[in-house]
Symmetry: C2
Subunit: 168 residues, 2 copies
DNA sequence: TTGGAATGTCAACAAGACTGACATAAAATA
DNA sequence: TATTTTATGTCAGTCTTGTTGACATTCCAA
């Protein structure tokens, strides 16, 4: 059985990919994702919302005026599922849905003042944890973190992620 | 507005932590987790199972003879929720539940042959994606990846993760 | 020996995902 | 112009997986 060190000397590239190393990565991903969502989850619960609402708020804020269809492909859920979430957010006055100018079938989505307030609160909590993790791990680790995550995405999703990443 | 480079020169440690950088990390985490679960999800669906079953199989395999209580704290769900999943796995002959020897209130959990077969199939699919991502990103990136993930966990969870990590 | 604590099971419910069917309005096209 | 396609929304029903509450069993310590 190979040792499991994370040496950087070339030649270890093969030894490196043991099932043990991979398993650790898998478990780290599982446990870290729990931490990743923990803080927003607490805030959402206070408001009677769930993770689905957070995702919608995040991406509406991210791309002001996005259409429902656009949001669907980013979130990777069905329109029925998204619609339920979106409807409550609109009813509660956090999201505004305007009929499209050029194509009146479309709905352009925007956050209201209240929506922006909640979104900021959620993302600030999530950023704070990410910031702490980044500080502990250091710049070089962060670069590696993002590289591995990007390589882990499905091709189609990575395309969307990269397009989104460059915006603004 | 600061530039967003991931430079390694010391002194950039502060510039580095812009909201933009943090947001990219957050979105990368979100999209990557989808990829992370995609392959097992497909296999599970064929068998009529969900992610909860995968998690149970993984950790029962990981720590043979573990108790229900032990599993609960690792998985972070209620015992009732876990019990439903566990019951179907036992009924389907993938998991065996033996009354504890020293404490007969406890149940010790084991994978059967069939359980091991499915677990291997699932973890092999997940490892394969992780392996591909690791290969693309390189050894140094992987080290950083794990460092950031570990820093992102809740303290209690990290404690469990590290204890689990050292096993075997 | 008895009452509390630990462990596990059963029942009922809720959130949020899914599919399928269908309605409406608008755009695109034949 | 008539027809088809597209974008969106809604209703109904199902499934997974989380929740709480109630309860049975077992162990241990007062």
């Amino acid at each position: 059985m190979n040792h499991g060190g994370t040496g950087t000397i070339s030649g270890e590239n093969l030894l490196f990919l043991t099932d043990e190393q991979l398993r650790k990565g898998i478990e780290a991903m599982f446990f870290a994702y729990r931490g990743f969502t923990a803080d927003p989850d607490r805030i959402l619960a206070e408001h009677g919302y769930g993770r689905a609402h957070h995702r919608a708020l995040h991406f509406v804020n991210r791309t002001h005026g996005t259409t429902v269809n656009n949001l669907l492909s980013v979130l990777g859920v069905t329109k029925q599922s998204l619609n339920r979430v979106l409807r409550t957010l609109i009813e509660d006055g956090l999201v505004e849905s305007r009929v499209g100018r050029t194509d009146r079938r479309e709905r352009n989505l925007y956050l209201t003042e209240a929506g922006q307030t909640l979104e900021r609160k959620l993302s600030e909590a999530q950023r704070e944890r990410m910031r702490a993790a980044y500080r502990i791990a250091g710049p070089q680790a962060v670069a590696g973190f993002r590289q591995v995550l990007e390589a882990m995405m499905d091709d189609e999703i990575r395309r969307q992620y990269l397009a989104l990443k460059e915006r603004r």
